[in-house]
């Protein structure tokens, strides 16, 4: 009886904690769990007027159909290729920048450079694409004007299927490098200064200090960032691609997310598009779970 009363009291005391979560939980049930239920569409011939539960059930037919679309394989390959190159680039460039910035003594120079390279991170891909379309234009863009000084003929950057994937990587670095650099710089400040003192006593040059103290000190965060980014190997960057690609570069620039968008919301093939999206989600969940496990194992990282 006493124990029961104590439990009742505990409930009364903690009830506000449960109550205050209710609005958020309702929103998540509708807008996060609702769409998960909507995955049923991938196994149906979906009809808007009939809804998720009464549309005709077709089993795996949509998946069989996808495998017959000739472009699908290419689009998966494009996605992985672009995403992989971005992962590599956003490992090398920010680490390099952080190491170089760490050597800068003048504080205001260090801060000034950080401030500038961090700026594009906050602008949307719509604005950045607007800028890129202007400066990369083959007829009037300043980039081609500049190349013209060296006698280089105008290059159609956004319309060339060979250049396009690399352009995505370079412009991705433009937007994101500052963010990564700041994370690595923050990690650099956490390295024990006595390690440097010991290295100097041992007669280590600055290069050797970088190689034997700084890089090993950064290793855990580098491993963590890389492992976590592997979970996104099927995310090649919808916002960026959507704002830069065009029919001339579909062969190398079309990715899973943009294909799903066109299939589903332009051509109204709801079920087919959902099936492609589901395939991507399943692969992503597996990769993300594995990468979180790895991150926990190697870097002791826990999400919640």
């Amino acid at each position: 009886m006493e124990a029961l009363r104590a439990r009742g009291k505990k409930w009364v005391r903690e009830s506000p904690l449960h109550l205050m979560m209710v609005p958020g939980i309702i929103l998540l049930l509708i807008f996060s769990y609702g769409p998960m239920l909507g995955i049923l569409m991938a196994f149906e011939r979906f009809n808007i007027s009939k809804g998720f539960f009464r549309s005709e059930w077709v089993g795996l037919d949509n998946f069989k159909f996808i495998l017959q679309i000739p472009d699908v394989r290419q689009v998966f390959w494009n996605t992985i290729f672009i995403a992989f190159m971005k992962i590599v680039a956003s490992l090398i460039v920010p680490v390099g920048l952080a190491l170089l910035l760490n050597e800068v003594r003048a504080k205001y120079v260090k801060r000034g450079i950080q401030t500038i390279i961090y700026l594009p991170y906050f602008l949307s891909w719509v604005l950045l694409a607007g800028i890129l379309i202007d400066i990369l234009s083959p007829s009037s863009g300043i980039v081609n004007q500049f190349l013209g000084i060296f006698g280089i003929k105008p290059i159609f950057f956004l319309g060339n299927e060979k250049i396009f994937p690399y352009l995505l990587v370079v412009t991705h670095v433009w937007k994101e490098a500052g963010f990564g650099t700041i994370i690595y710089l923050a990690a650099l400040t956490g390295i024990d200064p006595t390690l440097y003192e010991a290295a100097i006593v041992d007669g280590a040059s600055r290069w050797r200090q970088t190689w034997h103290v700084t890089l090993p000190g950064l290793a855990p965060i580098i491993i963590l960032m890389t492992v976590l980014s592997l979970g996104g190997i099927l995310n090649a960057g919808f916002d960026q691609v959507f704002n830069l690609y065009n029919p001339l570069v579909y062969s190398t620039g079309d990715i899973i997310d943009t294909m799903v968008y066109r299939m589903g919301l332009i051509d109204n093939q709801f079920s087919i598009a959902t099936a492609v999206g589901l395939f991507k989600s399943v692969v992503s969940v597996i990769l993300i779970s594995v990468s979180y496990k790895l991150a926990d194992k190697f870097a002791g990282y826990k999400v919640l």
Partner: protein, 295 residues
Amino acid sequence: MKGNTSIGRLAFPIFNYLFLSAFALLCLLPLVHVLAISFSSGTAASSGQVTLWPVHFTFKAYEFVANKPEFIRSMMVSFERVLLGVPIDMLLIITIAYPLSKDERMLSFRKGYVVFYMITILFGGGLIPWYMVIKMTGLIDSIFALILPGAVSIFSVIILLNFFRNLPKEIEEAAFIDGAGHWYTLWKIYVPLSMPAIATLILFSSVGHWNSWFDGIILMNRTEHYPLQSYLQTVVVQQGLLKMITIQDTQTLLAVSDRTNKAAQIFIGALPILLVYPFLQRYFMSGIVMGSVKG
């Protein structure tokens, strides 16, 4: 060996400064160029005279934009979205982070809640089912379609709950002994003490709302409901790409003469971000450190 290192000692900083400055300039110049175009005359822009400084300085492009009702209207939608969306986001983040910051003894079923929230960041239904659900709620063409579906940011919740956890337990215990309840403790003690974290998250949320464009394009049927970034996506990016592939090398005056107008619209779209950038930079850094390097 000695001589080598002393040359290296002199040469390296010079190389380093030059390299870093060049990289920073490369990041910045595209923005400066477009800004210069927006203040130049149409003929100067189309004949390629503008590099980093306006040629034939004029406000014409900005006058054109100011007299464009569609532009002004979508800017208003964006402001409405930020003013409505940010408080809602914050309310939800705070009311989820506070209970989750308690341990299992204070909050029964904590594990269950964690799983419930984690699933939402691990797995999603994908674009089409997401769109269908919003369509079924009848929110299409309402400002709330841009606010409610993304209102609960678990990423922000994680940052805030880590901050809550690092606050000294004694303050809370003292409040409970004085008879304060959870609501009181949260709003009168936790929130005021967490202002650095909350300011960071307000900035996250504002920038997020201002920069969102895709939801506007697919969830608003009528273009007068487009927020600014969605509007710019259609008139600057989509039209720009279309013109680019249809008239490639032919020097059509029509295509180039609206270059200054587009540049002005891009700059106005970026202006609010540029204005809050000094704060952004300071708070985001602490925000990143709070979120990624956990105590």
